[in-house]
Symmetry: C2
Subunit: 353 residues, 2 copies
């Protein structure tokens, strides 16, 4: 695939972001939602901050106290046999041996703004900050869909009772209305289509199940964006391929003359995250027209291969300008990068049904 | 607690139900939804049928082929080390060591009708039968809520992609309209409140998460019964008590002068299922007024302690007549029983907030 990565990459790194919390460091500025507002491109960064620990035996886990609005620190000892610290992102309960008990960082959403789409100025303060009990471990991986004059911003809400998807909306990226949790746990990787189709709103979503089944892409319908139903399994992982382990929606779907273009992410069993494309019917997005055989974008550059969690490219938003898709994407759970891909090249590499 | 169990208990056993599938036997007629239609009490039985195997080394797993509408049999060898057959209800993948790969029976919904609420006549054919790909392993544990002239019937839809909740509706229990999946996987134990409250419909539901958290009771809102949002965690399990392991809504909520009375089920770490009560605010059902300290009903009778999966009492519906709650409940994943409890007795045993 012919991918033009910006010379300025990575566009934003943790070093560019001043910590919001005293005694914390920024370990990630990544997986940003993308919005156009006026003549600005806004990256809605997921900023992850980690409490600095002076004692190598102590892991410090940040947790929001929703009553006070303050982040409190839980100190855990690396020698505590109840916990598994092998994944740098999470602390696991050894007894349950799955999921997580704590996160080692807390994420929130911060805006970076640009006139040219390459050089960004980062806001001093968070744009959306955890506040609800369902957000006590942070808010992650925002996507943003513009519908009419309103921008809908939705993200993973992580707490002691699971990972769901909460939504807020705004007209000006200054004041926000809260819509509550639109998909209950465990769910993430939600993208809302930017217009009604046949009288209904549509979303892709990604339940993670405990009973049976892999993390895969589903589709749902809504009359009002707040309440969702008619859930259907849309597409699965593919054994032996780059998206064999798990898949989820990535960028907000882009309308093209060929169909709804969805850039999704897929990981193999080694947790290497690539980006692929799926083309959905313009009038019925539950109908798959074509899907990438090989990835559209895979971790190749240093900043994609090395980082907090390496070998990850992960897009939450892309902008189509004429025949060129401007893709913004998180790299290695650390930084943001941008690339341009010709729509024609994506189309030529699809396998049609 | 003063519980009057019917002398006729168990009211319905598997022996009372003629198998619908050739070569199958009925192993359960239990966890029935309850409806009143005309002068009849209708139990919407979950009937579980198991393929008869003549070879003790062969476990036969039934799977619906949604294209043909036929149930096909997958034969598994007990000596196949990839599988764990220790739970009689499911076949587990040893590699994943959680959830299930197949069920050993397939469930559908069959009606039993009664004039006196104790002696039931069972329909010859299924009332609701699996048909959608999301139902290929069967449909389970129906609940039924009457809203106006329409009865809404919803149930666990079990398939290779997880356990969700599908809904159908009817006015006459003869012809049904399908509403699709109203809660996506993993979710079960949904109950719909029988009227709008403050302009919204409400449901209790029970997500099962993989990331963090236990199976517990959530609440959601809807404008139209098909699409649900504003999900909130409502109540949790209680360490050291009878509902320490997992909880879920049971009977459809009953309106009383004191509040919405919900009979829920709770299990401890030994998988002993009891029934408790929670009282929710009449005008805001997300507000808990009171909750049972001790169970309202626990497995004590032989038919509750012994069966396909023993030590289980599990209600999907109850009817309030004057001051008496007529509770129908599944026993040991096998049979149906009925009991009467005075509302006053339930109230007197609640712990008020």
């Amino acid at each position: 695939m012919n991918v033009y990565r910006y010379e300025q990459n990575p566009l934003i790194t943790p070093e560019d972001v001043k910590p919001y919390h005293d005694g914390f460091r920024v370990i990630g500025a990544f997986n940003a939602g993308v919005a156009r507002c006026g003549d600005e491109t806004i990256l809605l960064l997921r900023v992850a901050e980690q409490p600095i620990s002076s004692d190598p035996d102590v892991v410090r886990a940040p947790v929001l106290n929703p009553s006070s609005g303050q982040v409190e620190i839980r100190e855990l000892n690396r020698n505590d046999e109840r916990y598994d610290f092998s994944d740098p992102r999470v602390v696991r309960d050894v007894a349950t041996n799955e999921g997580f008990a704590f996160l080692t960082s807390i994420s929130y959403i911060r805006a970076a703004r640009s006139k040219d789409g390459r050089r960004f100025t980062i806001d001093d303060a968070p744009l959306v900050y955890p506040s609800d009990p369902s957000e006590c471990f942070g808010i992650e991986d925002p996507r943003c869909t513009r519908i009419g004059d309103r921008h809908y911003l939705y993200y993973s809400a992580v707490s002691t009772v699971g990972i769901g998807v909460n939504m807020v909306s705004t007209e000006d990226f200054a004041s926000f209305e809260r819509h509550g949790m639109i998909f209950c746990p465990d769910n993430k990787d939600v993208v809302l289509f930017p217009e009604k189709i046949g009288g209904k709103y549509y979303a892709l979503h990604r339940p993670t199940t405990r009973s049976i089944g892999k993390p895969e892409i589903w589709i749902a319908e809504s009359d009002n964006l707040n309440q969702w139903g008619r859930h259907r399994h849309l597409m699965g992982s593919r054994p032996g391929m780059w998206d064999s382990g798990r898949i989820g929606a990535g960028a907000v779907p882009v309308k093209t003359e060929y169909g709804w273009l969805e850039l999704y992410h897929g990981a193999d069993d080694r947790h290497r995250y690539c980006m692929g494309a799926v083309l959905l019917d313009l009038e019925d997005p539950s109908k798959i027209l074509a899907r990438s055989g090989r990835p559209v974008l895979e971790p190749e550059a240093d900043y994609e291969k090395q980082g907090f969690f390496g070998d990850v490219v992960f897009s939450c938003g892309a902008i189509l300008v004429d025949d060129v898709l401007k893709v913004y994407y998180g790299c290695a759970d650390t930084s943001m990068a941008g690339a341009e891909i010709r729509l024609r090249d994506i189309m030529d590499n699809l396998i049609w049904k």
